[in-house]
Symmetry: C2
Subunit: 368 residues, 2 copies
DNA sequence: TTGAAAGCGCTAACAC
DNA sequence: GTGTTAGCGCTTTCAA
C-alpha cells in the first residue's frame, strides 16, 4: 500500500505539501498541486483514514446502533443516518443489538472504540442507570426511541402517546366501542406510551379497556399473527383493533383474512409507523406516520452539534405524527357477532357470516 | 480522552503490559492484569481503534456498499454482513450508492480510505472496465449481485435465470399461456438474467413472448404500480404476470386489486426474492427464494479469506433458488376476457365481470 | 509556498 | 513477566 511518502517522493515534494494538496489547502502552487495529483493517480493512493484520525484526533466516523437491520423501520433510519453522515464527510459504522442487553453493550463499546464523532444509540434493554452512565461519559451520544431521565435533550423521540391516541380516536369516530389493542411485549418506552395513548383515548370517550381485549407479543410479523390468534381465541367481542405497529398489523390482518373475517367490514384496523408495507396490504392499512428518516437525520445533526460543542447547539425539531387514512377503517357492523362481552359464545340460530367466522375461529384457536 | 499511558501510570505498569492485558495475551501476571483492569475501569478507557489499526496494519473494518438501506432486500443483506463481521471481530461500515455512478464511486473510495479488511460491493452502474480496475487493485474486494468477466470467483450471485425460469414454469404448469413480464428498467445483470429465464421458459413450452406483454420500470413499489397500469392500458390479453421482484409485485397487485381484478382468479402472479412482504400480501405472494442473508455471509467470508490470502480460500456455496408456493397462482379462467390478442377491444354483449373490469381498466389507463 | 520534524495512541520486537 | 522503544501514516506547527 502506497503511503503519503511515496507520493511525495514521486511528485518531488515534501509530505507536507502532499497533505496540503489532498486536503484542499489553498497555499500550494499550481505546479506542486498537479505533480501531487499525478503521483497520487499513478500510485492509486488513498489517504489512510486511521492515520488521519490519529493525527487529527477526530475520527470522521458516525456510529449507530439499531436492533435489527432487516427491520424496514431501522433500514429507513440508518439510510437517513448514512445520508446525514455523508453530508458531514463522515462514514457510518452500524452495529446491531437485537434487543439483547449483552449485544447492545457490545455494540456501544464497539462505537466507543472507534472514538466516533457522533453516536446514535438505539438500545432498549440496557437499564436506565447504565444508559445514564454512558450519556454522562460520552457527551456526543444521542439516544433514539428512548428517554432517559435527566437527558431528555439528547433523546430523539416522537410523541407515541399522541400517535396512538389519534389512531384510536379515529376508530371511535367511526363508531367503534369495542376496540382491542395489540401491543409490543417489550417493556420499552414506545410500547408504554402507545398503550397509554390507547387508554387515554378510550377513557376520554367513556369506553373501558377490558384486559381481555389487550394482548402483547413480539413486535414482528409472527408476533402479530400470534396476537391476533390469541385475541380470537378469547372469544370476546371487538369490532376494531389498534396495533402497536404496521408489521404486527400485517400479521394480524393475515390471520383475520384467512379466517374469513373481512377488513374493514368485520374488523377495522389501524397500525403505526406508516411503512411502505402499509401501502402494500390489501386493503391498504390506515396508520400513523412515524418520521423515522427525519429522526435519523436529526439524531446525527444533534450528535455532531454536541461533538462540536457549538455555542448554539442544534435544536430538535417537532416530529409530526399524523393519522393516514387508508382503507382499513369502516363503521362497525350494525349487529355485533355476539352480544356477549365475555368468552365462549355458543352457536346461535341464524348467525351472520361474520358471527360464524368469529365463532369458528374462536373455537379452533382456543384449542378445543 | 484517556490513553494507554494513563492506564499504565495508574496501574503502575508499562504500556506494553497494558496492551498485553487488553489484547488477552497470556504472558501477564495475575497481579498486573488486575491492576490494569482496575485502572481501565476507573479511567473508563477504551482502546483507540485508529491507533491500533495503524500499529497493526490491519483495520478490523469490513466495508459494504449497497444501493439503498431502506430497501428490505439490502437491509437483510447488511444484517447478515454485520453478523458475519462481528464474528470476525470486525466493525461494519456501510455506504449507499443509490444506483448513481458518482455515489457508487464515492462509496467505494470511502471504503478504500478506511483500508477495510474486507469490501463487499454492490455497485451496478459503474462500468465493467472500471470495476475490473478496482478488483485488480483491491484483492479482497468482492462483488455482490454482479459478475465482472475475469473475476467470477469474486462475484457472489444467485442463478437468477434459473429462478425466473422456475417461476414461469409454475405459471405454465397451472395452465397459463399468455404470461406477461414486468421487469426492472435497470440494465443490470439480475434484470437481464431474469428476463432470459422468462424467455427460456416460454420458448421451451412453445409460447411466444410478445413485446406488448413485457414492460419494465423502476424496481420499486411505484415502479410496479406504473408497470401494471401500463400493461392494462395496452389492452392485450394476459392471464398471469411474472414480476422482477416482490416489491414490484406488491405494487402491481395493488393496481389489479383496485381495478376489481381478482388475484389469482383473474390474474395469477409470481414474484422474486421472498421478502417478508410476500407473506403480508393478500393473497400471499407465490415467489422465488433469494438467499440474501446467506449471500451477505458468504461475501464477508470470501472477502476475509482473500484478505488473509488463505492457502485454501473460502469457496462459495451453491445458493439455492426455489419456488415458494403460496396463494397467487391458479388456473386461468376458462374464458379469456378477450379473444383479441391485440389492443383496444370493444365492449362485448354479455361480457364477464373480469372482462368488464379489464376493459374499463384498459380504457381509463390508456388515456381515453 | 515549502519542508523538517514532532507527535497522535497503539503494537510488537527486543532486551532484560 | 515486564519495560523500552521504534515505528505505523498522517497532520500541523514552526522556520525558512
Amino acid at each position: 500500500m502506497a503511503t503519503i511518502r511515496d507520493v511525495a517522493k514521486l511528485a518531488g515534494v515534501s509530505v507536507a505539501t502532499v497533505s496540503r494538496v489532498l486536503n484542499g489547502s489553498s497555499k500550494v502552487s499550481q505546479q506542486s498541486r498537479e505533480a501531487v495529483l499525478k503521483a497520487q493517480h499513478e500510485l492509486d493512493f488513498h489517504l489512510n483514514a486511521s492515520a488521519r484520525t490519529l493525527a487529527r484526533k477526530d475520527s470522521e466516523i458516525i456510529g449507530v446502533t439499531v436492533s435489527d437491520l432487516s427491520d424496514p423501520y431501522f433500514g429507513c433510519m440508518v439510510k437517513a443516518c448514512e445520508n446525514a453522515a455523508r453530508r458531514l464527510s463522515c462514514s457510518l459504522i452500524v452495529c446491531q443489538g437485537f434487543h439483547e442487553e449483552q449485544r447492545e453493550i457490545v455494540a456501544i463499546d464497539t462505537l466507543l472504540t472507534h472514538h466516533c464523532r457522533g453516536l446514535i444509540v438505539h438500545a432498549l434493554t440496557i437499564p436506565d442507570d447504565r444508559m445514564a452512565d454512558y450519556l454522562r461519559r460520552v457527551p456526543s451520544m444521542v439516544l433514539i426511541n428512548r428517554e432517559v431521565p435527566g437527558f431528555e435533550d439528547r433523546c430523539v423521540n416522537i410523541d407515541n402517546e399522541k400517535g396512538e391516541y389519534l389512531a384510536v380516536c379515529q376508530l371511535i369516530a367511526a363508531g367503534h366501542r369495542h376496540i382491542a389493542y395489540i401491543g409490543s411485549r417489550h417493556s420499552i418506552l414506545d410500547a408504554k406510551e402507545r398503550l397509554t395513548g390507547y387508554r387515554r383515548a378510550m377513557q376520554e370517550h367513556g369506553l373501558s379497556c377490558p384486559p381481555q381485549l389487550m394482548v402483547a407479543d413480539e413486535p414482528s410479523l409472527e408476533g402479530g399473527i400470534r396476537a391476533a390468534r390469541e385475541l380470537l381465541a378469547r372469544g370476546v367481542y371487538f369490532s376494531a383493533v389498534a396495533v402497536y405497529n404496521d408489521t404486527m398489523a400485517a400479521g394480524s390482518m393475515s390471520v383475520f383474512n384467512s379466517r374469513g373475517l373481512q377488513i374493514p367490514a368485520d374488523i377495522s384496523m389501524v397500525g403505526f409507523d406508516d411503512l411502505l408495507l402499509a401501502r402494500c396490504l390489501n386493503p391498504q392499512l390506515s396508520t400513523i406516520t412515524n418520521p423515522v428518516e427525519e429522526m435519523g437525520e436529526a439524531a446525527v445533526q444533534l450528535s455532531n452539534s454536541l461533538y462540536l460543542k457549538q455555542p448554539a447547539p442544534y435544536t430538535l425539531p417537532n416530529f409530526d405524527v399524523r393519522f393516514v387514512p387508508r382503507a382499513t377503517i369502516a363503521a362497525p357492523a350494525a349487529q355485533p357477532w355476539t352480544d356477549k362481552l365475555s368468552p365462549r359464545p355458543q352457536k346461535a340460530a341464524g348467525e351472520s357470516r361474520a358471527a360464524a367466522a368469529f365463532r369458528r375461529a374462536q373455537q379452533e384457536l382456543s384449542g378445543r
